[in-house]
Amino acid sequence: MKLLIIEDEQGLRESIERYFTEEGIICESCDNLQTAINKTRLYQYDCILLDIGLADGEGFTLLSHLQSTGNNEGVLIISARNSLDDKLKGLNLGADDYLTKPFHLAELKARVAAIFRRKAFNTSNILNYEEISINLPAREVQVNEMPIILTRKEYDMLLYFIANKGKVISKNAIAEHLWGDEIDLADSFDFIYTHIKNIRKKLMDAAHKDYIKSVYGVGYKFL
């Protein structure tokens, strides 16, 4: 998977690049609109992370450009503005998703994975990870070809974990993913624990393997 990160805040850009770079993912990055447009002219990307507020213009320009050239990249907008108008404008210009700052890198990765899956839907409906096999349209999970029943939240969490495999995901990130940012859950990490415990048990029963590792009270890691 080839990724283009367009973000003018250096610290954020570096963090994203570092988090995403792994086997099978190639990241390129730039901090302004002009370079980004040149890059998309020259290369093909699977997914573009696009900041709206750039020094030399709004990210929407790139979206229009992509639309006019008929490119088929997945685009995820990352913006400091939580504005419905911006969101609609971006989606109308062909963006696939809109993420408001601040966000957790795990959330960003899960969204990118979702975009990537949608783009690749034509070729495969099945997401495989070791013994786990997920039928995406049907939302069905099999482990070693044995179906297991997950609740909606557990299913969401499994996808989230697989997208962030090998990474430590903070409890904050998980909480926000599961409940959204509408609900202020300052003291609600217990619920995460309950969900993790359930999903862990279900996977363990089916695969005889502990996929989820707890990391010092800060979060969890999916292996």
């Binding site: 601040p102 904050n172 940012d181 509408e182 202020d184």
Partner: protein, 417 residues
């Protein structure tokens, strides 16, 4: 007391006293002129008497001086000054005393000195004075009446622009973008007042607008650094050589960053509501939204062993779904957050009100302060903006929001008026 009444009062007192003093002076002057005239007549009479005595060498008979009464008394005095004075005049025909004017003089006939007194009736002049006084009084009364009426109507008319300005000022709402509308006036003072009010209101409006823009920009600008912190933390925890202690500290930073981000989002939301920027109104079934939210919050209530009972009727409102969800979210999360283990939450929705009641601390909150910004319980981890947002959403849609405490339930009631 109204300005016009105050003015009328002063005006009336001054007018009456001036007219009163003028009346006295007027009376005195007429009286003086009339007396002068009489005195001149009397002087002539004395002259005539003297002439008569000189020519006829005898004292005249009373008959010769028609209305005037003349009396002669012998006197030893060698000289008598010509003195005019008021006295009583006896009208021979009507036999009743009238006020009269008299003069004394000295006449010498055949070596004998006589003191002459001539009395003239003042009846005619008195009558004149009375008539003049009456006319004056009537005119004065008329003048006063006209003044009072004029004051009332003209003054009220004159002050109309003032009351218009006052009304506009009373209705002035800083959060409202509608500017003050002032009526045309030809009076310089009111023109000046209009200008001052206009410039003041536009200055206040623009200051307020600037403040809101500033809040919005500041909050937006803060989102980027917060997202840098979050992303760095997310990266940091990947390092598994860190110790437990360090992870603990990272957790605290996560929590603080999370709060900062929420605070920012809440401030932005408040600005948006106040600026009336959220206008995706649609017909909503409140019952459906509440049912959905109850489902969402189920895990939270269950983990705290809170019993939730609800009576929900179908209820349609026209509002932004986004805002109504935030409203319900905030009220629900408060009801859960400030609840006690094994407590209760009661929800009642009918076609004119929504009541959310919960158990919690066993004393009333300060109903005046709880809706103010940054008012929160000592133990609350929240932003202190939740209820302010609820209040602002309610006032956006003209819902009435009230808090009351009836042991052991804290109640938030929204009346859909």
């Amino acid at each position: 007391m109204k300005l016009s009444a105050q003015y009328s009062k002063v005006n009336l007192i001054i007018t009456i006293s001036v007219l009163f003093i003028a009346g006295i002076i007027y009376y005195g002057t007429i009286d003086y002129i009339a007396n002068n005239q009489l005195d001149r007549n009397l002087d002539e009479e004395i002259g005539e008497v003297a002439d008569y005595v000189k020519i006829n060498q005898r004292l005249p008979k009373q008959i010769d001086f028609d209305e005037d009464q003349t009396s002669f008394t012998k006197t030893d005095q060698k000289a008598i000054a010509k003195v005019f004075f008021d006295t009583v005049y006896r009208n021979p025909r009507e036999k009743k005393p009238e006020s009269g004017r008299a003069v004394t003089g000295l006449i010498t006939l055949s070596g004998v000195n006589y003191k002459v007194i001539v009395i003239e009736s003042k009846e005619a002049t008195e009558y004149l004075i009375q008539l003049i006084t009456l006319i004056t009084l009537v005119l004065t009364a008329l003048l006063l009446l006209i003044l009072v009426i004029a004051n009332r109507y003209i003054l009220n008319g004159l002050w109309k622009p003032f009351y218009h300005i006052l009304q506009q000022l009373k209705a002035f709402n800083i959060a409202d973008a509608t500017s003050i509308e002032l009526s045309e006036t030809k009076v310089d003072e009111f023109k000046e007042l209009n200008d001052a009010v206009l410039s003041m209101s536009s200055r206040v409006n623009s200051d307020y607008q600037n403040l809101k823009t500033f809040t919005e920009n500041a909050s937006h600008e803060m989102m980027t650094p917060i997202s840098v912190i979050t992303s760095k933390l997310d990266t940091l925890i990947q390092d598994e050589t860190l110790k437990f202690e360090q992870f603990n500290q990272i957790n605290d930073i996560y929590a603080a960053t999370n709060r900062l981000s929420r605070l920012n989002q809440s401030l932005l939301l408040l600005v948006k509501i106040e600026n009336d920027l959220i206008q995706d109104s649609a017909n909503l079934n409140l019952k459906d939204i509440i049912t959905e939210k109850l489902h969402q919050f189920q895990e939270l209530t269950q983990s705290k062993h809170i019993g939730v009972t609800h009576t929900l009727d179908d209820m349609e409102i026209t509002a932004s779904k986004y805002l109504i969800e935030i409203l319900i979210n905030n009220l629900f999360s408060n009801a859960i957050k400030h609840n006690i283990p094994y407590g209760t939450i009661r929800i009642l929705l009918n076609d004119n009100k929504l009541i959310i009641q919960n158990t919690g601390e066993n004393e009333s909150l300060n109903e005046k302060e709880i809706f103010e910004r940054f008012q929160k319980g000592k133990t609350s981890e929240g932003t202190g903006l939740g209820l302010t947002i609820v209040k602002n959403i309610c006032s956006q849609y003209n819902f009435r929001l009230n808090y009351y405490f009836e042991k052991p339930l804290h109640s938030f009631q929204i009346d859909f008026v």
